[in-house]
Symmetry: D2
Subunit: 395 residues, 4 copies
């Protein structure tokens, strides 16, 4: 047993298997992938990495595994440690792009488990790469511990992201939550006594969304980064599979070396000269069914750019998915019956609707094009005249 200092969980104990896996280049790479992409442009403390988050998930999984006392613990704990090795550079900033080009999300890691050091370690311990991959995809019964409605992944990241941003919303009672989770008919369920702890987790996530995860500054920087990546893939021939395995540093190199638009974006990110909001508005102000347009972003950007008379790559249209809260469908065990969390709690039931309040369509462009792109975008999205839009001054 070795212990490692962690600012969130104090100490994390690692056994030999964990230490062997951590020594792999795949996990070491996570040291160079920021957990929150470009959120450090808003919250200067948010430089934490997928590496420490992975240790944290492993740590909480150990507690929960011990609590529910399931067989096959070694594979599950390996899955906890490895669950994020599929992330691309800057985490979520590259996610949509990678999915679009490779049809793989960050939870599809089976091939990575079957090669190199990880494969060797798994063989040494007679563990199955396929099983671990299934755990990571949440397709198995014990896999619910790390990937389901209420899992240790989000317990760790909510607390950790709050800790490093310094935001006051992430205090979750994970000890109580873990204490009240159990398996019932192959389903990970929450004892009703843990209801307040679960409510607290969901509210915390709800509050973190507009404040951190969807803060417009991070969202703009991430969109800029994704646009640069797409440019390099399309115009410079970077293979999406190679892009997916880069880390933050090697991708920044790639942008700088590419010259042109990607290098400009990199310099802008370095000097925090970001695109600005030309349009930023909620569902209420829109006459078009905006969610249907999510598959045609490139075309829309082109149309708005042409209408405004600026080059296409200087118009970024950002239409987030309609928010949904999978945790609402977590199972709660009350007086021997299983009910859904949003049935057990009126508070939880209200969160999905409340979340719509925070959804924003954004159109981003360099400062100097703000007005012309703003007008073109308002026309395109048929923004209602009489509704108040959010002020475009940065908070």
């Amino acid at each position: 047993m070795k212990v490692i200092r962690d600012p969130v969980h104090d100490y994390i104990e690692l056994d030999e298997l964990a230490l062997a896996l951590i020594d792999s280049p795949e996990i070491q790479r996570l040291r160079r992938i920021k957990q929150l992409g470009f959120s450090n442009l808003v919250y200067p403390g948010a430089n934490h990495t997928r590496f420490e988050h992975s240790l944290g998930v492993y740590h909480l999984a150990r507690f929960l595994v011990k609590q529910v006392d399931e067989p096959g613990q070694k594979e599950l704990l390996a899955a906890a440690l490895l669950h994020d090795i599929g992330h691309g550079p800057f985490s979520h900033a590259s996610e949509e792009l990678i999915e679009r080009y490779t049809r793989k999300s960050h939870i599809h890691v089976e091939e990575l488990l079957k090669q190199g050091v990880i494969s060797d370690v798994l063989k040494d311990y007679s563990l199955s790469a396929s099983s671990i991959a299934k755990h990571i995809r949440g397709e198995t019964h014990p896999g619910q511990i790390i990937n389901s409605e209420i899992d240790v992944d989000r317990m760790d990241y909510l607390v950790r992201d709050a800790h490093y941003t310094g935001v006051a919303f992430g205090l979750i009672d994970h000890v109580r939550l873990i204490h009240e989770l159990m398996f019932n008919e192959n389903k990970l369920v929450l004892n009703i006594r843990g209801l307040q702890a679960a409510e607290s987790l969901l509210v915390s996530r709800f509050l973190m969304h507009p404040t951190v995860y969807f803060h417009h500054v991070s969202r703009i920087a991430e969109s800029m980064c994704a646009h640069a990546a797409e440019y390099i893939i399309e115009d410079e021939g970077l293979k999406p599979q190679v892009f997916r395995r880069m880390d933050d540093i090697t991708f920044i190199m790639e942008m700088k070396n590419a010259g042109g638009y990607p290098a400009e974006i990199s310099k802008r990110l370095d000097e925090r000269r970001l695109f600005k909001r030309a349009l930023y508005t909620g569902f209420d102000s829109l006459n078009v069914d905006v969610l249907k347009l999510r598959n045609n972003l490139k075309r829309i950007e082109k149309e708005i750019a042409e209408s405004a008379g600026v080059a296409t790559e200087y118009v970024i249209v950002d239409i987030p998915e309609k928010p949904h809260i999978p945790e609402m469908k977590a199972q709660v065990l009350a007086n021997g019956n299983m009910i859904l969390l949003d049935r057990a709690s009126n508070l939880v039931a209200s969160l999905e609707k409340a979340q719509l309040d925070n959804w924003r369509l954004g159109v981003y462009t360099p400062k100097e094009y703000r007005d012309i792109v703003g007008d073109a975008a308002k026309a395109f999205f048929e923004v209602k005249k009489d509704t108040k839009q959010f002020k475009l001054t940065d908070i």
Copy 2:
């Protein structure tokens, strides 16, 4: 300027006026009144007092006063420091009783400001006791800072109560909240940019209710204490006005010296041999309109006791008020318009309904009478047969 260490706000600066007021017996008495009555029977760390809470409210009021830049600051800061001197022993445990007998709640303190050391200090600084009393009752424009929908009183107590209980729900961004409060047309309003901070405050309060403020163990101990007090007032001739000015220690002495029932209750509280829940149920299980019965508790207790064949003083009926959330009606300033907080936030709008989930009718009695009193109570309140009640085992 003197600085005092505070575990919640780190350091609190006190000027000469504050120091002079603190030296009064009225404020020193608050050192001997626990902020959370008997919550330390559930949360062993909850031994904090009204004294330190008063310093904390003063501290936050200073920040807010500086921020809104209003005249008459000295009187307001005095009000912040003095706002809780009207509390009786064990804070809320004695509150209903005192109001019933004296028609005064803890915010009616004008007479206390017009006598003794406080009166002398106020005269020295040419401050008006009447104005301060009005501030404390929240009847003035600046008084909203310490007593209104979103005031520094609840900012301090939520954080402080969470800190000392160790509960994970009280992390409030009071810096942001204070930063976004301002006066608009004589009304303390919140800039929309502080919306998440306000949501967080309300959710925190929502979660603290069942977990701390209405935890059945504290609720039982407080009811026992109030019954002993009523017994002493009725049978031993203790004057309600004298009771109101006691502190925790002198009231415990009073119970012990009284002998009989009050002494028994005191011994039970000392040894944590509390009454148990004979009935504990939400609105859904009740066929009677229970809130209408709140004024006849004595009669109900008598009826249930007689029906069960136990002495009246061993049956305690606890019907809390219907929960309401005054903060919902706080004013929010968005794009130049004032709207109510529950209009600005779907989350807030849902809290009042959600709060009903946590309301409980309780009937408490010594362990040995649990079954007979439980049956009598169920009959009296027409508890529906087919609805599940909450398990009566202590959490």
Copy 3:
């Protein structure tokens, strides 16, 4: 297993034996004994009790017991939970007095273990009261865990006292310390890898002494309390054995009921009208060998009072013991050899000498007698004329 929220250790798990012991009046009494006596007069947050400290010591003992894997764990854990039941009212404030009259310190609790609920519980679990008593006195090999040079008792109280006072000096790495402790030849020893953690513990204790434990305001209030107690014992016939079993509240009642001097002291403590420092000085300023006078305090107070012309009970002479640091003699295991901690660390070696800097002789008296008693005290103790004394204004 039941879990209890603790602000210091987050959660404390209690098994059935622990729960049964906690239900005894002896442990419940500790809820009414403040851990730091009158330190709340300086640090308003310091209202924590021996009860929560006892839970904390039990919690850390569980970790250490698991780590060193010794037999007889149940008795040791019982001892951890019970180790402070021998304390008198206001903890250390009553300690010297009780020892003087009863020849028993707070670690002599064998009789208390052999009666009432505790005795019943121990019998139910077939545990020996005598063994537990020996553990508490630190006379056994496993007893070193709770009472030796580096034990879980001081790990808990240093962190806890710092937490509640808000002082910045108590952050101790108890996880690392516990991780590096082991038994070697029946001696609890520290692996050299834990050296920095041990240094940190000692420095923390060193810094807590002048700032908290020997802060003059607490020291004055404690001396006043002890003088009132002695008065009641001598003049009112209170039996020392009865005094020893009181709690803070019943002793305050005793003072108030006694009238006269004790009631005056109680009122002064209530209103924070404390005696002041008439003399307050270190070793360097004294021409007499002051430590030799510790056994004649009553006579000295009388002499100074007569010389100053005030009543004896208004002169309090406070001569603390010469500071010593037992932790310095903890054993450290380095490269297979056992050495003493003060040999392994130059920092530790220097602390004992450094501690002398903070020692103070105090003579306390009501404000109005400060000058005359000060002069009499300076004459008595032959205070050097040319040395600078510490200013007598309160910090």
Copy 4:
């Protein structure tokens, strides 16, 4: 005024001047320089940057400036914000090398203040670049606030480094420290009432040294990085002035692009395949006067490498400076007299000697050469046979 969230100081307020300076590429670059170089290889949370530290120093300087009420505050606050722009990649890892080649340490930043955005901003506000440069070098009277024996620079970094490493040693009472600092005869001095706070700062620094700043793993990684940089400068013609202005990312690119030895080092750092300790020992075991050899490291490495039969670049000799503690000479004001801190405190006086306990000579080499390089190094440094060396297994 804009407020920024900081995990250490909660909120940092920035005025217009600060915001303008922060927008410069020189300060934005600090976002890409890790505060603790490679300490994240030991403490996974230690990814914090010089950028947030600079904000923290500015924040504390504002408090201290307000407290001492000196003129010329704007220039001093600009200096606080800019004090670290002279750092090279990976902070201290590149420091010795840059000083050797450029004769400039990180506090020599005058040229940087006289060009680009910073120069423009300073002109806009009529501030003198030369004065600011002098403040940063600690050569002025107010400059002591950010660069002297007890300055806000170390107050921030000790707390911040402890926070992000998770180490328990960095809790410093900076509020008290700042409160007790004042100017006396143009010298920044500490009131004796802040003595314990100062002791705490020094002890914190003392404990952080072996645990964090001189942890052998960081020290090895930093030495490897410096050797790669020297190789690129010598063999690839990288100009030292250019190296000095790189950030962590661009220097990693430089290593990767250089191929050969630098690329190997970069890969080793990426995969955490570090050199190991072939020798690691304190002063006591050495017969040679090792500090005299500090200027001939290259020659020594060559000699040991030849004697062991390995290539020179695979032997790294690390001879840290003799530890000294400049804070010991801080001035303390006691009873109107100025004395040195190590005269006012026996604890402080002992720290310099104690610090020698933690000094280590290290010789590092790839795992496979450990034994042969170890033997050669022991011979070279005349390591005493009978003294015990520290075990070379990693903690």
